[in-house]
Amino acid sequence: MKRELKNQSEKGYPGLLIAIEGTDGAGRSTQIEILRQWLAIEGYGVVTSEWKTSNLIAKAIDQAKERNLLHAYTFSLLYASDFADRLEHIIMPALKAGLIVLTDRYTYTAYARDVVRGVSPEWIRRLYDFAPEPDLVFYLKMPVEALLKRIIATSGLDYYESGRDIGLSTDFYESFKIYQRKILEEYSKMEREYNFETIDGTLSVEAIQDRLRKNIRECIDSGVIR
C-alpha cells in the first residue's frame, strides 16, 4: 500500500521528511551519504540527522552504556530525550525552512529495540507521539544470516547490538542472532502498520540507491516540496 502524501498545510511545514530504517549493518549511512550528495546536486537543501547524536544527550548515553547500567525504561527514555532534542533543534527547524531532512533511523528504531527489551508497544508509541510522521520511510531489510556476516566483517559484535544486556545467551554469537532476529520480527510487524517502502538490503549499493531515488523523485514530483 502506498503512503498517503500529505500537503504542506496538513503537515504544518513545507519541508520533506525521509526516514531510513533498518538494523545495524543494513547500509543506512552509506545510502544516506549518497542521497545527500545527489539531492544537493539536484539543488535541494538537505539536512541529515542520525540516531543518538544530539549535542546534549548522546555522550550521556555512551557513558551509561559503558557502565552497562541501563534498564529497559531508562534506556528507552534516554534515546527519546536524544530524539526530542534533535527534533527541536535540527529536524523541525529544517522542515519549517523547507529543507529535505534525511534521518538515519527514526522512531521505528525505538519501537523495535525497546519492545524487544521489554517495554510495551503502546507505551513506546505514545512516548514518541510528538514526532511528525515522515513523508517516506524506507526499510532496508536484511535476513539475519547476511546481517551477521556483514557486521562481523566490519565492526564486530558489540555488547548492546548483541542484546547481551537482556541476557539472551552468554554466547555472543548466539545472543546476537536471537536479538537481531527479534528486532527483525518487530520491523516486519511495522512494515504494514506504517507503510514502509521495503527494499532488499542484500542488493548492491547502486541498486538500493536507484530504488531510493526513484521513490524520492516521485515524491518530489508530486509537488509536496517546491
Partner: protein, 223 residues
C-alpha cells in the same frame, strides 16, 4: 500499567509532594528520623539525584537549551534510573522507601510547562504505585516568601523559560500557581493525602506519623 495498580512487594513506599517552600523536605526528614529509630530498614531518595543524567541536565539548564519536552524526558530518565537501581530493589528487600518528590512532581511541573497531561502520565506508567503520597499544600505567596526571603527566584523555579513575565517574582507567582493547581487536581485523581502546610511543623508531623503508622500496620510493620 504499574502506576495504576497496588504493588505486591514486601516494602512500603511513602512519598512527599508539594511546591518548593511547602516544607515537605523538613517533614520527610522528621519522618525518617522517627522511622530509622524504630524500624531501621529505611532508605531515602530524592528527585533528580541519579548520576546518570545530572551533568546533562545541568548543562542544558545553564545554556537554556531545554524545551519543556526534553526537560520532561530527562527527568524521566533520572526517575527510571533511580526506580530500577534504588527504589524497586529496596521494596523487594522489604525496606521502607521515603521519596522526596515522585512522579506527581512531573505531572504538576511538566504540565505547568505546557506538556500534555496524558503524555506525561503514560511516560511514567512504569512507576510503582506508592503506598502513601502526602501533598503539602501552601498558597503560592507562602511558597514565595519562604523560598525567596533572601534571594531572587531562580530561572527554572520561576518558569522564566516560559516567558510568562520579565519579573522573576511575578513569573514565579504565575508558574508555581499553575503547579499548585495541577497538584490540587491530583488529590482526587491519584489519592494524594493533602496536608495543610501552613500548620506548625509539629502538628503536621503528628498527623503524618499517625497515617504512616496505620499504613505500616497493614503491612505488618510495627513502629
Amino acid at each position: 500499567m504499574r502506576l495504576s495498580k497496588k504493588h505486591d512487594l514486601p516494602g512500603v513506599l511513602i512519598v512527599v509532594e508539594g511546591v518548593d517552600g511547602s516544607g515537605k523536605s523538613t517533614q520527610i526528614s522528621l519522618l525518617k528520623d522517627w522511622l530509622v529509630s524504630t524500624v531501621e530498614d529505611v532508605i531515602f531518595t530524592e528527585w533528580n539525584s541519579s548520576r546518570i543524567i545530572s551533568d546533562t541536565t545541568k548543562k542544558g539548564k545553564k545554556k537554556n537549551l531545554l524545551t519543556p519536552r526534553t526537560f520532561s524526558l530527562l527527568h524521566a530518565v533520572d526517575f527510571a534510573d533511580r526506580l530500577e537501581q534504588i527504589i524497586v530493589p529496596a521494596l523487594k528487600a522489604g525496606f521502607i522507601v521515603l521519596a522526596d518528590r515522585y512522579v506527581y512532581t512531573a505531572f504538576a511541573r511538566d504540565v505547568a510547562r505546557g506538556v500534555d497531561p496524558g503524555w506525561v502520565r503514560n511516560m511514567y506508567g512504569f512507576a510503582i504505585n506508592p503506598d502513601l503520597a502526602f501533598y503539602f499544600h501552601v498558597p503560592v505567596e507562602v511558597s514565595l516568601e519562604r523560598i525567596c526571603s533572601n534571594r531572587a527566584p531562580k530561572f527554572y523555579e520561576a518558569g522564566m523559560d516560559l516567558n510568562l513575565s520579565p519579573d522573576p517574582y511575578e513569573s514565579y507567582r504565575i508558574f508555581q500557581g499553575r503547579v499548585i493547581s495541577e497538584y490540587d487536581k491530583m488529590v482526587e485523581e491519584h489519592g494524594l493525602v493533602k496536608i495543610d502546610a501552613k500548620e506548625t511543623i509539629h502538628n503536621q508531623q503528628v498527623i503524618i506519623r499517625d497515617i504512616v503508622e496505620k499504613a505500616l500496620e497493614e503491612k505488618g510493620i510495627r513502629v
